[in-house]
């Protein structure tokens, strides 16, 4: 039993909770994964096609069976179409999330969103100015309305270029124009990808892959960027603040409410409700010491970044958090919420609430949040959670939480540097910091839980590479203790000195998955101050344990923006060596960056170090041999 748990996760709370889950006979994502293995080779290689109803088709990679689908598509076309649709789905998910925030912004402007407001009016002004909106002398609500309108325009655009691509270095934009991958509209590129991959449209596997890059850019410099910026406007731009992580953040003597998913629209209202004195009094009257709101996955990251709310775990921990028996209510919005959760919760007293009009789950109660009703509904639900506290059975919270520091928005990082990126650049130039790497993305039961994230991050900081992280990777690194100022001890001498001087950890939590755009923006700022392109910088990206289509889109917009990106799990593309070659080698000639796949994080770290040192060399900086 112990042995199995150790095979599945490197985290202590994960291991102990897996053992508890086994005792409680709770089926987890790992059990279901084991039941699925071996997985379908056609699908793993991207060789199965379900796009039209002449199919489904599959190509025999051994050449014995069919070499073409019914329509005549060969392995290259089928693999490229499938990958294109993964990008489209990922971009759609981020962008629809962004749209929901723009709708809240519009509702705020109309005074129809009680409880919501403009938390960062300066950012509102700055972003509005980028959209060419007159802000002088206008009340924030009027500016918000105009900005919401203009942003909606980016979704169904009639323009040649998205508004926020202007934040990218000029050289990069020129390259996008030249190669024909400049994103035009957020919905447009996704829609066009679905069109191109319809039977009988784009059957050039190269042009399909190029459009996949454009589609991904419409996410990174469009949907996700809007999601991040509007969240900052509505709920505040993150500033460094302390928090705690792992299952130990649950409190045996308090009402525990967990928010899970991706969108801060619901969780922000819950936070307000959890902090209202009358409800806290109610909790005390019911025998609880207070109300403890904690997060999972990116909804958790959103709250952690802005309010220092504790974080219970990442993707693979979600079932195990319920298995503590200490969760009185879990509210979910959308994305990465396993449909198994309702069943898991049915073994405990946990109330499961789905909140989005577009996301339902078996075994959950659906209580829909809209800007108009959110404040009142949040209060009702927190009261219900308080009532549920009394129905708790035995509780198992086996670990103490780990402290961490979050909230590193670009603004906060520049603030810590004294307003300009120059100190960071100087440290890079003189070699104290070799470069920077984004460690991002999900967990996947194919890789030992958090092993990829932690192992890679440790190697990078040991080698004086500053790590910027988001999403589930960020939670893993926080749990591993990399996000306190003292963690500078783990860093190499150069990075350690810089971190100690600034009082920052060597791993900076930049937020949720949509917040990967903060990494893009930081890279742009660095490129601009060096007068070069992003692809010239000693930076890299990695997703050591990714699973989701959103991660495919993120990886693609990183690469299309000029960032070399190393993936852990292999995407379903090995059915076409042409596609593999284009993504790993050919793209270098097109966008100045490419992908690598390396499931072993130790080796991935070497790839990243080698890349960073080679970029240093090209910039004329001192370079080490790796």
């Amino acid at each position: 039993m112990l042995k199995d748990a150790e095979k599945r996760t490197v985290t202590e709370d994960g291991r102990l909770m897996l053992e508890k889950a086994e005792k409680d006979r709770i089926e987890t994502v790992w059990d279901r994964y084991a039941a699925q293995t071996p997985q379908c080779g056609y699908c793993e290689m991207g060789l199965s096609c379900r796009i039209c109803n002449m199919g489904p088709c599959r190509i025999d990679p051994f050449g014995e069976g069919p070499r073409q689908g019914v329509c005549g598509a060969d392995a290259d076309i089928i693999v490229a179409r499938n990958l294109g649709r993964m990008v489209a789905a990922g971009a759609a998910a981020h962008s629809d999330h962004g749209r929901d925030l723009v709708e809240v912004l519009a509702a705020v402007a109309e005074g129809k969103a009680p409880g919501y407001g403009i938390a960062d009016p300066d950012k509102l002004k700055r972003v509005a100015a980028e959209y060419g909106i007159e802000t002088e002398g206008k009340p924030p609500h009027a500016v918000a309305g105009a900005l919401a309108d203009a942003m909606m325009g980016d979704f169904g655009s009639r323009r040649k270029e998205l508004s926020m691509v202007r934040r990218a270095p000029a050289k990069r934009r020129e390259l996008w124009r030249k190669t024909g991958i400049m994103p035009r509209g957020i919905d447009r590129e996704t829609s066009e990808m679905m069109h191109r991959t319809h039977m009988g449209v784009d059957n050039g596997w190269q042009s399909l892959l190029l459009h996949a890059l454009r589609n991904a850019l419409s996410d990174g410099w469009g949907g996700s960027m809007i999601a991040t910026e509007v969240s900052d406007i509505l709920f505040g731009t993150p500033k460094p603040s302390a928090n705690t992580v792992n299952v130990g953040v649950l409190k045996a003597d308090q009402v525990n409410i967990i928010v899970h998913g991706h969108n801060p629209v619901v969780s922000e209202m819950l936070l307000q409700a959890c902090q209202s004195p009358d409800i806290i009094d109610l909790a005390k009257a019911k025998g609880a010491a207070g109300i403890n709101l904690a997060g999972l996955c990116c909804t958790g990251n959103e709250l952690l970044m802005r309010h220092g709310i504790p974080m219970a775990g990442n993707h693979l921990m979600t079932e195990l958090v319920i298995a503590t028996g200490a969760v009185d209510m879990m509210l979910v919005d959308y994305q990465c919420i396993m449909p198994s959760l309702g069943k898991t919760a049915s073994c405990y007293h946990t109330l499961m609430i789905s909140t989005s009009d577009k996301a339902r789950f078996p075994g959950m109660t659906h209580r829909e949040f809209h800007p108009e009703n959110a404040r009142d509904l949040a209060r009702d639900l927190v009261k219900e959670a308080v009532e549920n506290f009394g129905r708790r059975g035995r509780v198992y919270i086996p670990v103490e939480p780990v402290p961490s520091l979050g909230g590193f928005s670009v603004e906060a990082i520049l603030g810590a540097l004294g307003g300009t990126p120059d100190p960071l650049l100087d440290a890079v130039k003189d070699g104290r910091i070799r470069g920077a790497a984004g460690v991002v993305g999900c967990n996947n039961p194919k890789i030992k839980h958090d092993y990829g994230h932690i192992t890679l991050t440790r190697q990078l900081i040991e080698n004086d590479i500053l790590v910027l992280d988001t999403g589930c990777a960020a939670i893993a690194n926080a749990k591993a203790g990399f996000k306190v100022a003292e963690a500078a001890e783990y860093a190499g001498p150069g990075l350690k000195a810089v971190c100690s001087a600034l009082g920052i950890p060597p791993v900076l939590h930049m937020g949720s998955c949509v917040d990967n755009v903060r990494i893009l923006l930081l890279a742009s700022a660095l490129a601009d101050s060096l007068g070069c392109d992003i692809s010239d910088l000693p930076v890299a990206g990695s997703a050591p344990e990714w699973y989701s289509e959103k991660a495919v889109s993120i990886g693609a917009y990183f690469v299309a923006s000029g960032v070399y990106t190393v993936l852990g799990p292999m995407p379903p593309i090995t059915g076409s060596m042409n596609v593999v070659k284009l993504l790993t080698e050919g793209l270098n000639d097109v966008v100045g960056a490419g992908f690598a796949v390396e499931p072993d994080p130790e080796k991935a770290g070497i790839l990243i170090r080698r890349h960073i040192e080679s970029k240093r060399k090209q910039l004329g900086l001192d370079a080490r041999s790796v």
């Binding site: 071996p38 379908c40 080779g41 056609y42 290689m45 990679p61 051994f62 014995e64 069976g65 090995t574």
Partner: protein, 199 residues
């Protein structure tokens, strides 16, 4: 002793067994690398389509007496009694195709193989995954078949189960709930499509 038992009524035609079989007989034993080997490993089990488009996994029956063995003049075919496996020795095989002609099931193919001398095409067929069985593993096709169309068990127990299933299905008032209703529905649709072709 345990044998690979085929239950064709459960085959969904996903051809996973073919991939797994070819991979199990490759040099590198991993799908992603096996497809880049030379010679390209090939499966010893072949999924054919029945008249209604249903899948049928066709593999060596390891007959006793085995027509292929009787037909092989150079004596390349023999039986491993421990696993009741009819095997072909690639070094002795002269690629004369007599065995294939003698085999009533058409399960013998000719091509280069990781186990054969380089450049030589030989007769190749199911070897009951002898190499895997020696390591205590079940045959690759069985491991990979998610629909239960291939099992590794005592033939007597498989037949006993089959008898019980048939007996229950002919009971009056049995209601005849199929094992996998969705699959049965799919097959019914396919069947009626084929029937329509005949009108």
């Amino acid at each position: 002793m345990k044998q690979v038992v085929v239950h064709p009524e459960r085959c969904v035609g996903c051809m996973q067994c073919m991939l797994a079989c070819a991979t199990a007989h490759s040099k590198t034993l991993h799908l992603f690398t096996a497809v880049r080997e030379d010679p390209l490993p090939k499966p010893r089990i072949h999924v054919g389509a029945g008249i209604h488009g249903e899948g049928f996994p066709n593999r060596c029956r390891h007959c006793d007496p085995a027509p292929c063995m009787l037909a092989c003049l150079p004596g390349a075919i023999s039986r491993i009694p421990e696993t009741n496996t009819v095997v072909i020795d690639p070094d002795t095989c002269i690629n004369c195709a007599s065995c294939a002609m003698a085999c009533p099931f058409g399960v013998i193919r000719y091509h280069g193989d990781a186990a054969a001398p380089p450049g030589k095409a030989v007769a190749v067929k199911c070897d009951n995954c002898t190499a895997r069985q020696k390591k205590g593993m079940v045959p690759a096709c069985v491991e990979v078949c998610k629909s239960g169309a291939l099992t590794f068990e005592e033939p007597a127990s498989a037949l006993g189960r089959k008898t019980r299933e048939v007996a229950r299905s002919v009971s009056r008032d049995a209601g005849g709930e199929p094992i996998a209703p969705g699959f049965a529905l799919l097959n019914a649709v396919k069947r009626s499509q084929i029937e329509m072709e005949k009108r």
